[in-house]
């Protein structure tokens, strides 16, 4: 449904007299299959939105190619535009308009007739449970309602693919869960959904496949389960004070059951092990015999954050 090869974009930014070139996206190769929810996971500034805006024809790539719903992005952006929907992160509704007016106008911008635009608006309002507010001005809506109107706008012309940039950012937990249901409903209707997110749980729970992006590059791609399996094994977090940490690290580093060991700046160790249940007693014995006191010990199944950490050396929560 989407195939990109070496998609690149750099921006020139001026700081004082110096002109700096920032490589926002440095060669992205992606394959998105029909009917899946594909997620772009990464910290702010990783290049997710830039990539999305390139795919949505809003900015021209510096290099690379892409085929979207069968249309060539570089050669025929007008055709791409007809086949996709795009919902921006920052909103797209006008305070003084009503949801119905926005939907009708947007449908008509795709060349849909007036009568059909009204029919579709009514249907969309119903599907997104907005009928009650349909004729009120957008400025009276809650964040969640407004976001639903925006998604409805993005799919009013029944595109094959819809791009949603951070669809749940800024929503309360209930609206967020509601939005996930809406996105799953789009998939159930046969649409391919491409979202960006910096929420680990969202990528994990909602997406069929994800690509992890950092510094303008895709560092990992696969289903959430596959990616976590790559980490293989469990993570044990050992709570220690700063003074005891180096000694403990030295003790445990050479051990056979420790596959990888990282020390945290604020003290404590992060150990990647095959089997947490057997590793923990051994860890406790080693540290205890050396007279080191632990403040805590935790066992973690690997999360997407661990995937991110092993690929980039940073935690997504910190970046």
């Amino acid at each position: 449904m989407i195939e990109t090869r070496g998609l690149r974009k750099s921006f020139r930014s001026r700081a004082g007299r110096e002109t700096k070139t920032v490589d926002a996206v440095r060669g992205v190769d992606l394959q998105v299959a029909e009917g899946e929810i594909f997620g772009f996971l990464g910290p702010n500034g990783a290049g997710k939105t830039t990539t999305l805006r390139m795919l949505a024809t809003l900015i021209e790539p510096d290099g690379g190619e892409a085929t979207i719903a069968g249309a060539d992005l570089r050669k025929d952006p007008a055709e791409v535009r007809r086949r996709i929907g795009y919902v921006a992160q920052g909103g797209s509704t006008w305070d003084e308009s009503t949801a119905r007016e926005e939907l009708v106008l947007h449908a008509r911008m795709y060349g849909i007739s007036k009568a059909e635009a009204h029919r579709r608006a009514t249907r969309a309002l119903d599907a997104f449970q907005l009928t009650e507010y349909a004729d009120r001005k957008c400025k009276t809506y809650s964040g969640g309602q407004r976001r639903r109107v925006e998604i409805a706008l993005g799919i009013i012309h029944e595109p094959k693919i819809v791009f949603l940039d951070e669809p749940t950012t800024g929503l309360d937990p209930q609206s967020r869960a509601h939005m996930w249901d809406e996105i799953r409903r789009l998939r159930a209707e046969g649409m391919t959904v491409f979202i960006t997110t910096h929420y680990l749980d969202e990528a994990d729970a909602l997406c069929d496949r994800i690509a992890i992006m950092d510094h303008g590059e895709v560092v990992a791609e696969g289903t959430p389960a596959e990616l976590k399996r790559e980490i293989s094994g469990d993570v044990v977090l050992v709570g220690l004070d700063v003074a005891g940490t180096p000694q403990a690290a030295q003790l445990l580093d050479g051990e056979e059951f420790v596959k990888k060991l990282e020390t945290a700046d604020e003290g404590g160790l992060r150990l990647y092990v095959d089997e947490g249940a057997t590793a923990i007693p051994q860890i406790l014995r080693r540290l205890d015999s050396a007279g080191l006191t632990l403040s805590s010990i935790e066992l973690h199944r690997p999360s997407l954050d661990d995937v991110f950490l092993t690929k980039t050396g940073r935690s997504l929560r910190e970046s």
Binding site: T57, L58, A88, S92, W94, L105, M109
Partner: protein, 251 residues
């Protein structure tokens, strides 16, 4: 065909929003009305005009051109609000004509200017201004072309600078000399030679002269067709340039 349909679509939407808040049309007309009521009465003695009506024939056309220039140049602010709300980006991902995005908005500005011009004209009638209706309609055409140009240019600049803070001083810097060099408030016949020489290069000066000739009933005056031709050419150029700004970064 698609251009006409899309332009109509955008125009309808903009007019609908304008009608929802018609107060802006009247806010826009407030300042010129003040000039008409509080400044124009000084003109009969100042211009040495034989009658009050004669003074208004000189002043009102200038006031209307002023309204068209300023009304147009400040439309960019509305567009920046739309940019910020994401409405423009939303339009850009659709196949809607880029030129229509501009024309629909500029035509709304033309319509709102013409409503204001009619209000001013009607008020001026109370001060014994009399204009032949055919001449008046041609003068309105001139005003419409000016407003089309200034609003298009304002939109183009707004798309480039993307911030009110930059747009306001920019527009003021352009508008002030243009205003003073067009003989809007007082005819440039009073001006020293060097000032007239500069004003000859100001297209709005030609527009003001043409509009004055129309209000004076001199349809045959060369200034009429010259003013109309110059504003028409500039309006096309302004729209062309601004439409390119709308299309830029989106092919």
């Amino acid at each position: 065909m698609k251009l006409a349909r899309d332009t109509w679509l955008i125009f309808q939407r903009q007019i609908q929003l304008l009608l929802r808040n018609p107060v802006w049309v009247f806010v826009g007309v407030f300042q010129p009305v003040m000039y008409l009521l509080l400044f124009a009465p000084l003109l009969k003695p100042a211009l040495n005009a034989p009658t009050q009506a004669a003074a208004y024939k000189i002043f009102v056309p200038g006031l209307l051109v002023l309204l068209a220039i300023f009304g147009g140049l400040f439309q960019g602010f509305g567009l920046i609000a739309e940019l910020r709300a994401g409405v423009i980006e939303r339009s850009r991902v659709t196949p809607v004509s880029r030129l229509a995005l501009l024309l629909g908005r500029s035509l709304r500005d033309v319509v709102s200017l013409l409503v204001q011009a009619v209000i001013i004209t009607l008020l001026a009638l109370l001060f014994d201004l009399r204009v032949f209706i055919g001449d008046l309609l041609l003068a309105y055409l001139m005003l419409a072309l000016i407003a089309l140009m200034t609003s298009a240019v304002s939109y183009g600049v707004a798309l480039k600078v993307k911030s009110e803070d930059a747009l306001a001083p920019l527009m003021n810097t352009v508008a002030q000399p243009v205003l003073l060099l067009s003989g809007i408030l007082l005819p440039l016949t009073f001006a020293p030679g060097w000032l007239q020489g500069i004003a000859d290069w100001n297209p709005f000066s030609w527009a003001v002269d043409g509009t004055r000739a129309l209000f004076a009933g001199d349809l045959g005056d060369d200034k009429v067709w010259q003013g109309l031709t110059i504003t028409a050419v500039l309006a096309v150029a302004g729209v062309f340039w601004a439409a390119r700004q709308f299309a830029r970064s989106v092919r």
